[in-house]
């Protein structure tokens, strides 16, 4: 690891989701899912339990379908590395209402903390810049997280943030596991009860 990363993942996610209003959230599998749930289980969060590599593209489909709403994809470095091509596909669409925030602990946290490519210097923020994201940054301080939070609803996207966090493992806080339930409650909260009649 290049240098000590001190940000707490739970504090980062709590800050990003504070007073979230009608923000739509896609949480990648593993710890980002638990972090989002720890900040408060919410029907407008779609937490992934599998389909590794899908989070950014689920966010893109949602952002394109809901151009008036703001979408935040919260995922991990391992998950993002598996879907790197999706950054290029987002770069083609350039939705102003989409942000991708990668909680980068430089490790596969669910499988024994093996190093990911970011531990060896692979720069996700630079990749996002190269893919045409409107703004891309590496975050190491809480003040930068707060500034990102303010930009989530500013329609300046697509935004990308690689947030360097400590490689800790806070307690698991799990949302429901039933995918059909997660889908239904999200659509009902976003589209109203008639969504079930679509």
């Amino acid at each position: 690891m290049s240098r000590a990363n001190t940000l707490s993942r739970r504090a980062v996610v709590a800050a990003l989701l504070a007073d979230r209003g009608d923000l739509l959230v896609v949480a990648g599998l593993g710890a980002p899912n638990w972090d989002a749930t720890a900040a408060g289980d919410n029907p407008l969060t779609f937490p992934l339990w599998g389909a590794m590599g899908s989070a950014a593209m689920v966010g893109l489909g949602l952002a394109l379908a809901q151009p008036k709403r703001h979408v935040l994809v919260l995922t991990g470095d391992g998950e993002m590395l598996m879907g790197l091509g999706s950054l290029a596909s987002i770069g083609v669409q350039r939705p102003a209402n989409l942000a991708v925030a990668v909680l980068d602990n430089e490790a596969y946290g669910e499988t024994g903390m093996q190093a990911t490519h970011t531990a060896h210097g692979v720069d996700l923020a630079a990749i996002a810049t190269g893919c045409g994201f409107q703004r891309s940054e590496t975050i190491r301080e809480m003040a930068q997280v707060e500034a990102l939070r303010a930009r989530l609803t500013a329609r300046q996207g697509p935004l990308f943030a690689q947030i360097k966090i400590a490689a800790d493992a806070p307690p698991l806080v799990m949302p429901p596991r039933d995918g059909a339930l997660l889908k239904h409650r999200f659509r009902a909260a976003l589209l109203g009860p008639d969504a079930a009649l679509a």
Partner: protein
């Protein structure tokens, strides 16, 4: 007596997708999809989403449906193999999913590298809990896609329409 003009089945697919209110058209190009891609790109009710790899389109379909829109994934049979784990998202959440797959590696194939995935395509889709329909006759393509779209979006099913290589013609590489 001149031969009848070839049936414009890509136009029938476009019409079926439009009637089904498909708004997001995700694709990895294939020669067999070229005319359909052009027709969809010229339709201002459809947004074209080019992908770097096919499984991105599976995830996009989930996000689109969460947001209240319908999508389709256009790909070649070789792309089906790229989608397998991502299809667990569709199966476990019961997302509607529609894909139109141009077949390679079957009737009249010149390139042996296409044969293994082409041969595995229907079985791989079925193992991943996708319902497989096949269209081989030019005049039946439109109805097949319309029926598949209704099955997908009204019955919340995962459905693939395979367009036979007999329909699209085998790539000859000038040989």
């Amino acid at each position: 007596v001149s031969a009848a003009p070839p049936h414009d089945w890509p136009a029938d697919i476009h019409a079926a997708l439009k009637a089904a209110e498909v708004r997001q058209v995700a694709y990895v190009p294939d020669a067999g999809h070229a005319r359909l891609i052009k027709l969809c790109a010229g339709d201002n009710t459809m947004r074209m989403v080019p992908l770097t790899t096919e499984e991105e389109g599976v995830a996009l379909a989930a996000g689109a449906w969460l947001g209240g829109e319908r999508s389709v994934l256009l790909m070649q049979s070789s792309g089906v193999g790229n989608c397998i784990n991502m299809l667990s998202l569709i199966a476990t959440c019961r997302f509607p999913f529609l894909t139109i797959v141009t077949m390679r590696g079957e009737f009249g194939e010149f390139n042996p590298w296409q044969v293994p995935m082409g041969t595995a395509t229907p079985g791989a889709l079925e193992l991943a809990q996708v319902i497989v329909h096949r269209a081989s006759e030019p005049t039946r393509v439109g109805d097949t896609v319309a029926g598949a779209a209704r099955l997908a979006f009204s019955s919340y099913a995962a459905v693939a329409v395979l367009l036979s290589q007999q329909l699209i013609g085998a790539k000859t590489f000038g040989k």
